[in-house]
Every structure is written in structure tokens, then in C-alpha cells.
């Protein structure tokens, strides 16, 4: 037994001494070096440095935009659709009361709640804490609830929030500023961070992941002009534009879908990395697995099927939109399948050295993740607080490298071959059935 471990250790040491050659490493870890490193580590590092260099210049332009915002001081609508969210609404309203931007109305849309939500909301409405409480007696799905609210919204901009999220004091202001920075911008996404990071290993890993893929990742895609998903948890839209593109369609993944629709119509979307929203994430691996399955399926359903035309030459063809979707499909779907075969070849070709390969692979990934964490520390507005997530880098190989990949792989396979998102109880059956017939 001990011999077995010694063998592995010897192998690992050998890797760095006797056999150390870039060629050999590349040969075994080509997937890490050729596919993952350039996109997720190198590119992000370069863009982050670029972002820091141009920071002052951008800051000035944003100051001017902020002034314009406050001169116009438009009424905005804060829209929180959801089912059985009553218990969160009071906290949400209180956090909105703290906002630096004051000219807003709050619309809560209750999508067929079967708990105390109606009572709570009616009380809050009576007390004048929310401006409008809308309710569907029959559940219609998230998209319909959001559209219901838009119909009665009076604001110039609509901020879509999840009821269980809460905002930094200046988040509303920060998410509105980009509209005054560039009039072509019709929708702005905010940064979503994890509030319950300390609940479990699972939530800590997600906190790390959100920092990397949302705050940094979206900043990067935004800089490149290929930002493609405005979080449902915190996004702002110009109402007129929203109505023009027909608001939300049936989900799941409606946040990505609506971003696509805006991009397709020729307008810009923008990511405000300094508009911070905190949300609670699933605390168990099982719940997380289910959530990610749903998210991943939408990639196939929307990007590959519904919005396939973006990849084809057409009237509103845009090279940025093409790159945006291509990048998304390549990295999240195609390379994922590739990774699967890469792992298979490793297993069959190096069956005797598997443990060794695994450990060295982990070491390489660990080095990468340290770089990535450095980038996070460069960008994040609360870097000192988030430093405490460093120990969790140890697990990031397992989490991003294996857990998320396998989850995605399963979801994509199911959706590609079985259209399983149409069977997801997240949507009422009546809407899913129709959506499948219509191919949307």
C-alpha cells in the first residue's frame, strides 16, 4: 500500500526532474495549456491590466454620465417577479430604501404563490412600502410574471431583481450610469456576488466561481464587446426597448435569451462590474447540480437552436454577435465534449500513471487559479474581504475542473438529444408544451 504512494510521489517528482520537458507536459496537459489557459487565464489577465490602465479615463467619462443621470433623474421601476418570495420582500424593500438613487417605484409580481406572500405584500402595499403588488392566481412562469410587471411599469428604465437579492447602497445608481455613458446601450447587467459564502464548502466554491466568471469574466467579455448574459438577479433595461423586443420569452435561461434579443436588434448591452448585488446560492451539491443543469440546458435551447441565425449570414449580421455566440458555444459546449474525450484518452493511454497525471494536473491548475485570484483582487471592490476565500483555491480543480464540467456535459447531452428543458417543472407545463411545439 505504502509502495503505491511512493510510486506516485516518485512519479510526480520525476515529472519535474527527469522527465521535465515542456514537450512532455504539453503532450499530456494540452487541454489545460491550449484550451483553458489562453482563454480563462491569459486573456483575462491581459484585459484586467488593460482595464486598470484605462481606469482613470473611463472614470472621468462615468462621472459625466453620472451627472447627466442626476440632471434627468428619471423615474425607474424596480421589478421583482417570483413565486413564494414573500419572506424576502421586506428585506428587499429595506435595502432599496438605502439606495443613493431615490426616484424609483417598486413592483412586486407574485407568480401564483401558495404561501403567505399575498398577505405580506398587501400589507407592504398598504403601508406604502411597495407601489404596486400584482398577482397571478395561476402560476404562469417567470417570464410571464416579469412581462406582467412591465405592462404596469411607469419608469423609464426597468431594473429586474430577484426578490431574495440585496444591493450595495450605490448599486442602482451604478447600473443606471452606463445608459448615460453611451446612448446605444439599452441594457446593463450588474455584478452578482454570493451572500451566503460561509454557509458551506459548496457556497464558498460558488462565491469564488462568481467572482471569477461574473465579476472578472463578464468584465472581460464586456471589454471585448461580446458580453452576452445579463443576470436575472440584477439587470437594467430601457423600458421602451424592452417592449420593442417583446420583453421576456419563456425560460429557463431567459436572462441570456433577452440579452441575445437586444444584441440581435443592433443595440449594445453593457456590464457594470461596480454595480453589486448579493444573492443566496444553493447550499447543497444536489441543489447546485439541479440549478446548473437548468442553466446549461438553456445554452443549447437558446444559443444553438432559437438564436442559431446569429451564426448565419443575415440582415442584421454582426461580427461581434457572431464571436459572442461562437465563443460561448465553443467553450461551454464543444470544448466540454472535447474534454470528455481528452479524459477518456488519458485514462486509456496512461492507465498506469493516472494518479501521477492527476496530481500534476492539479498542481498546474492550482498555479493557474492563483493567477486568476490575483486578477480578482485587482478588479473587486471588496478585495480585502474576499481574500479569505484563498484557501478554497485548493478545491477549485475539483469544482471547476470536474464538477461543473460533468454537470454541463450531462445537461447538454440531455438537451441536445432529449429536449429535456421543456420538461422542467420550473415552467408550468402549459407554457413548456407550447414552447416546444413552437421551437422556442
Amino acid at each position: 500500500m505504502l509502495d503505491f504512494f511512493y510510486d506516485i510521489i516518485d512519479g510526480v517528482i520525476a515529472c519535474f526532474t527527469r522527465n521535465l520537458s515542456w514537450n512532455a507536459l504539453l503532450h499530456t496537459y494540452w487541454f489545460l495549456f491550449i484550451i483553458e489557459f489562453p482563454r480563462y487565464y491569459f486573456l483575462e489577465l491581459v484585459i484586467a491590466i488593460w482595464y486598470k490602465i484605462t481606469y482613470q479615463q473611463r472614470k472621468k467619462a462615468m462621472e459625466v454620465a453620472k451627472m447627466k443621470l442626476y440632471i434627468e433623474n428619471p423615474l425607474i421601476t424596480i421589478l421583482a417577479p417570483g413565486k413564494n418570495e414573500g419572506k424576502h420582500i421586506y428585506k428587499l424593500v429595506k435595502s432599496l430604501n438605502e439606495q443613493t438613487y431615490r426616484n424609483y417605484e417598486i413592483i412586486i409580481v407574485d407568480d401564483g404563490s401558495d404561501d403567505a406572500t399575498p398577505m405580506i405584500c398587501r400589507d407592504l402595499e398598504k403601508a406604502g412600502l411597495i407601489d404596486l403588488y400584482l398577482r397571478s392566481d395561476i402560476r404562469g412562469g417567470k417570464a410571464s410574471a416579469a412581462n406582467y410587471g412591465v405592462h404596469y411599469a411607469k419608469g423609464k428604465y426597468i431594473i429586474h431583481l430577484d426578490a431574495d437579492s440585496s444591493l450595495d447602497r450605490d448599486a442602482i445608481e451604478k447600473i443606471l450610469i452606463p445608459f448615460y455613458y453611451d446612448p446605444k446601450i439599452k441594457a446593463v447587467g450588474g455584478t452578482v456576488k454570493v451572500r451566503n459564502a460561509e454557509d458551506s464548502l459548496c457556497t464558498s466554491m460558488q462565491a469564488l466561481e462568481y467572482l471569477k466568471t461574473i465579476q472578472v469574466g463578464r468584465m472581460v467579455t464586456n471589454e471585448l464587446g461580446i458580453y452576452h448574459i445579463i443576470s436575472g438577479a440584477f439587470g437594467a433595461f430601457e423600458k421602451e426597448k424592452l417592449i420593442q423586443i417583446g420583453m421576456w420569452d419563456i425560460g429557463p435561461g431567459l436572462d441570456g435569451d433577452i440579452t441575445q434579443k437586444i444584441r440581435k436588434s443592433g443595440d449594445k448591452v453593457y456590464f457594470a462590474e461596480d454595480a453589486i448585488c448579493m444573492t443566496n446560492v444553493p447550499t447543497t451539491w444536489h441543489a447546485l447540480f439541479k440549478q446548473r443543469q437548468r442553466w446549461s440546458k438553456s445554452l443549447i435551447r437558446f444559443r444553438l437552436r432559437k438564436h442559431f441565425d446569429i451564426l448565419m449570414p443575415h440582415k442584421h449580421f454582426s461580427i461581434l454577435n457572431w464571436i459572442s455566440n461562437m465563443e460561448n458555444l465553443l467553450y461551454d459546449c464543444f470544448f466540454n465534449f472535447m474534454w470528455f474525450f481528452y479524459i477518456l484518452t488519458l485514462i486509456f493511454m496512461h492507465t498506469d500513471r493516472l494518479m501521477e497525471i492527476f496530481i500534476v494536473g492539479w498542481m498546474i491548475r492550482y498555479c493557474f487559479s492563483v493567477v486568476a485570484f490575483g486578477v480578482i483582487m485587482m478588479i473587486s471592490e471588496r478585495a480585502s474581504e474576499e481574500k479569505k476565500l484563498v484557501p478554497y483555491l485548493f478545491f477549485s480543480t475539483f469544482y471547476t475542473g470536474y464538477f461543473l464540467r460533468i454537470t454541463r456535459l450531462l445537461a447538454h447531452t440531455k438537451e441536445l438529444f432529449f429536449f429535456s428543458s421543456y420538461k422542467d417543472p420550473w415552467n408550468p407545463k402549459k407554457t413548456s408544451d407550447l414552447a416546444q411545439i413552437e421551437g422556442i
Binding site: 401564483g112 398587501r122 402595499e125 398598504k126 404596486l132 403588488y133 400584482l134 398577482r135 397571478s136 392566481d137 395561476i138 404562469g140 412562469g141 417570464a143 410571464s144 410574471a145 412581462n147 406582467y148 405592462h151 404596469y152 417583446g246 420583453m247 421576456w248 420569452d249 419563456i250 402549459k430 407554457t431 407550447l434 414552447a435 413552437e438 422556442i440
Partner: protein, 463 residues
């Protein structure tokens, strides 16, 4: 309509006054109180109003000649009598109905055991009226009062006092509720069983309320209620009117026709829009409009009243039958008191018939405190007139009025005595009612040459 009357003696020797049409009995010179024992009204096709007018003419309480006498109507008048039914003893097909005579005999026999008021007894005091109602009830063997919720009565329910008059003033209603309390306190009546809790107007105590839906923002009732439609395939939800398309329903978002509820679309909710302020909401706010005082309230402002069945106790029946006891009791409580209207008319009367040098002094007090209500004001009124010999005392709202006759050139000693009396009054009230103070508002005296109308105007001018 032919109006006439006749008096017939029936087989039992009772004299029946048979009335056709409208007969002002009190004004008939040739008919005296002793000429008839009971009354029967024939159906001459009179309307409800004509009938009510005739019943006022022969009211067991207000008519001098018909005082407490049994009164029957032709059976066919039953459906025209409405809310005046409580002051009718029964119905009969013809004037010589046997059952009617039997019932009349019972009443006449028990009336013989009851001391009636002197016909000339002052009508001005509500307590006399109240006691007349009690006597009426006792003579009819009505010892228990089954109170019922009835819309014909403004208060929404019958009561220990019979709602003979629909148009009780709000003051009078308070007084009658107060008398009910006094009857309970004296042990003349007791609560029998709890019946119901109803809500009445907090201002005028009436139950004729309209409940209306209103906009929670501006309180307007000009609302539009509209269903919203959910189109499944495109997740659009908007009001039905936005789907209207040439008589069909077409989705404003995806332009498809909606054909089948439950398959293509459904109606998840109804939304109100206020036409005054354009506010949108799911739940209207209720407002309550009182049809008698024309004021608007919130449902939570309404006054909750517990309704009980009452019953006379045997002591009560005895005391109320005997005039001496009754007068003593009522004097103890309410002598010298009149309601505000009578109070003013008495002052007017006095000014016409005053002795030289004598004028009326009026002291006005305000009852102050956080929990002042009508009942407290009336208790204070009752305390005041038991203690001092004012000629007349009355109240309106939170103000108490006390009138004294005195020479216009009062001596200093007399002045001093009056002032001391007032001071003591204020002190006693302060002691007896915690949290309530009696504040002397002003002191009114009719000037030598002041016209009575101007003086009365001065009295009734307060806020």
C-alpha cells in the same frame, strides 16, 4: 278619500272608535278621551304615507285622547304599515272581530293597573316619552324584548325603546341608549342574551351604510376593473383590452390569435385602474358612506355595538306601572333636563312671560378630556342637575348649558354665592371623573334691550 269616524259599542260593552281615512282625533271637539276605549282603522285604500299620518294622529304616546289605547288595523293594511308595525296591537278583518276584542280586553285590563301620566304632563322631556314607551310595553305584556336586526330601523335593530319614530335625532338616540343603561343600573331591566355585534356610523350611530370600493391612493370610486390575459407561447401578460382585435383576441406581442382558454391562454388575475389618478392595483380599499349623515369612514372607524335581548325585571314592572315611583325615579335622574331644542324654546317662552327685573343667566361648560363621549357628558349633566337648582339644563355635543333665572341687578352676595357654587361644581366633576375636566366656557346674560332671537343665536353659537 272620504274621511269619517263612528263609535260603536261592541258585545262586551267596549266603545270602538272606527276610523276611515284621516281623522285628527285630538282636534275633534265632540269626542272626548272617555268616549272610546279602543281604535279600529278601516282600509279605505290609503297609501303608506296616509296611513302613517293617521297613526301619528292617534299615536299612543303623543295623542292626548288615544294615550296607550289599543289600536287595530284592517288586515289588508298589513303590507302598507312597514316600520310602524310596533305601535299597532293587531289586525282584524272587520270591526267586530272576536279575537280582536279579546286582545283589546287584555290590554284594557292591564292598563287599569298602570298609572298613566296626567294628560297635561310636559311632553318636552325625552325621559317621559321613554317611560311612556315602557308603560306601553308593560300594558301589552311585552316583558322581554326580542331584538332583531331590521333594516327599517335606522339603528339597524329594534331596541328596548320601540322605534316608533324613524327620525330620532342623534342626541335623542344617545339619550335612549343612556336610558337603557339607567334601566339596567336600577335593576328595572336586565340583559337576557347576546344577540349580535353590528357596526354603525360612529358619528350618527345609524346602520344605513354603503360599503364602496375605492382607489387606495386617491379614494375615488371611479374604477375600471379588467382581467389580464396570459398568452402561454410568448409569456405576454397584459389587460384584455390590449388583446382586442376586431372582435377577436390577438396577442399584442406575438400577433397570434388566442383561441382556447387553458390551451393558448388563461386569465390569471383582475387588475383595477383608477380613472381619477391612473393608479393600478389588485385590491381596492373599502370606504363606508353613511347615508344619514353623509360622512365617509374607513371600515375600521365604525362603531361596534353589541346587541342583547332585554327583559323587564319584576321590580321594573312594578316600578314602571306605578306613577309615583316612576316620577320619583325619573325626577331623580332627569328633572330639569331638556334636550337642546326644547331648552331654547323654553328660554324663548320665558322671555315672553318674564317678571320685571328677572333675566336668564346661562353658564356654558365644556367637557374636556381624551375620552369624552356622549355617555360621560350625560352622566355629568345628570350629576349637575341633581346637585344644583338650575331652572333648566341641557347639552349639545361636549357643551353643557345651565340656565338660571335671577334679577338683572343681582347683589354682590348673590353673585359670590353663584360663583362659589360653580367652582365647587368644577371641583366635584374633576374628582369624580378622572381624566375629565369641566371647563367654564362663558357666561351669557340677556341684555335689557336684546331681542330674544339674537340672544338665542348667541347661545347656540359655539364650536
Amino acid at each position: 278619500m272620504n274621511s269619517s269616524y263612528s263609535i260603536k259599542t261592541n258585545s262586551q260593552g267596549r266603545k270602538v272608535l272606527i276610523v276611515k281615512g284621516i281623522v285628527p282625533i285630538d282636534q275633534l271637539k265632540e269626542v272626548t278621551e272617555d268616549d272610546f276605549d279602543m281604535i279600529y282603522v278601516e282600509d279605505t285604500g290609503q297609501s303608506h304615507y296616509e296611513l302613517s299620518y293617521q297613526l301619528q294622529n292617534m299615536s299612543p304616546f303623543h295623542s292626548l285622547k288615544c294615550h296607550l289605547k289599543p289600536c287595530f288595523l284592517a288586515s289588508t293594511l298589513k303590507n302598507r304599515i312597514l316600520n310602524l308595525a310596533p305601535i299597532v296591537d293587531g289586525f282584524a278583518d272587520k270591526a267586530d272581530d272576536k279575537a280582536m276584542y279579546e286582545r283589546a280586553n287584555e290590554i284594557i285590563d292591564s292598563l287599569a293597573l298602570i298609572d298613566t301620566f296626567d294628560i297635561s304632563e310636559v311632553k318636552r322631556n325625552n325621559y317621559i316619552y321613554f317611560l311612556k314607551l315602557c308603560k306601553y310595553a308593560i300594558s301589552r305584556g311585552m316583558h322581554t324584548f326580542t331584538i332583531s336586526l331590521e333594516e327599517a330601523y335606522a339603528q339597524g335593530h329594534t331596541s328596548l325603546f320601540i322605534a316608533e319614530q324613524k327620525n330620532f335625532s342623534s342626541n335623542m338616540k344617545d339619550e335612549f341608549i343612556y336610558y337603557n343603561h339607567v334601566m339596567l343600573e336600577l335593576g328595572y331591566a336586565k340583559r337576557k342574551e347576546f344577540l349580535e355585534r353590528i357596526h354603525v356610523c360612529p358619528h350618527c350611530k345609524e346602520s344605513h351604510l354603503f360599503y364602496m370600493e375605492a382607489c387606495p391612493k386617491c379614494d375615488s370610486s371611479l374604477l375600471k376593473e379588467e382581467p389580464v390575459l396570459h398568452h402561454f407561447r410568448c409569456a405576454n401578460i397584459s389587460p384584455e383590452s390590449s388583446y382586442a382585435y376586431d372582435g377577436d383576441l390577438r396577442c399584442p406581442k406575438c400577433h397570434q390569435f388566442l383561441r382556447h382558454i387553458g390551451v393558448d391562454y388563461d386569465r390569471p388575475s383582475n387588475v383595477y385602474t383608477c380613472r381619477e389618478c391612473n393608479h393600478t392595483f389588485l385590491h381596492t380599499r373599502m370606504k363606508v358612506y353613511c347615508s344619514s349623515c353623509k360622512k365617509t369612514f374607513r371600515p375600521s372607524d365604525l362603531l361596534a355595538i353589541d346587541i342583547y335581548n332585554y327583559e323587564f325585571t319584576s321590580e321594573g314592572i312594578l316600578a314602571l306601572s306605578s306613577n309615583d315611583a316612576m316620577v320619583a325615579v325619573s325626577k331623580d335622574i332627569w328633572a330639569g333636563y331638556s334636550n337642546f331644542e326644547s331648552f331654547l324654546s323654553q328660554i324663548r317662552l320665558f322671555s315672553y312671560s318674564r317678571i320685571k327685573n328677572e333675566v336668564i343667566y346661562i353658564n356654558r361648560f365644556k367637557v374636556d378630556g381624551p375620552h369624552v363621549n356622549n355617555e360621560i357628558v350625560m352622566r355629568i349633566v345628570s350629576d349637575l342637575q341633581k346637585r344644583y337648582h338650575y331652572n333648566n339644563i341641557s347639552y349639545k355635543g361636549k357643551y353643557i348649558f345651565m340656565a338660571t333665572k335671577a334679577p338683572s341687578d343681582m347683589s354682590d352676595a348673590l353673585w359670590k354665592q353663584m360663583e362659589e357654587e360653580h367652582e365647587e361644581t368644577l371641583k366635584i366633576i374633576d374628582l369624580k371623573y378622572t381624566g375629565i375636566t369641566l371647563v367654564e366656557q362663558d357666561y351669557l346674560q340677556q341684555d335689557e334691550n336684546e331681542k330674544i332671537d339674537t340672544f338665542i343665536k348667541r347661545i347656540s353659537k359655539f364650536n
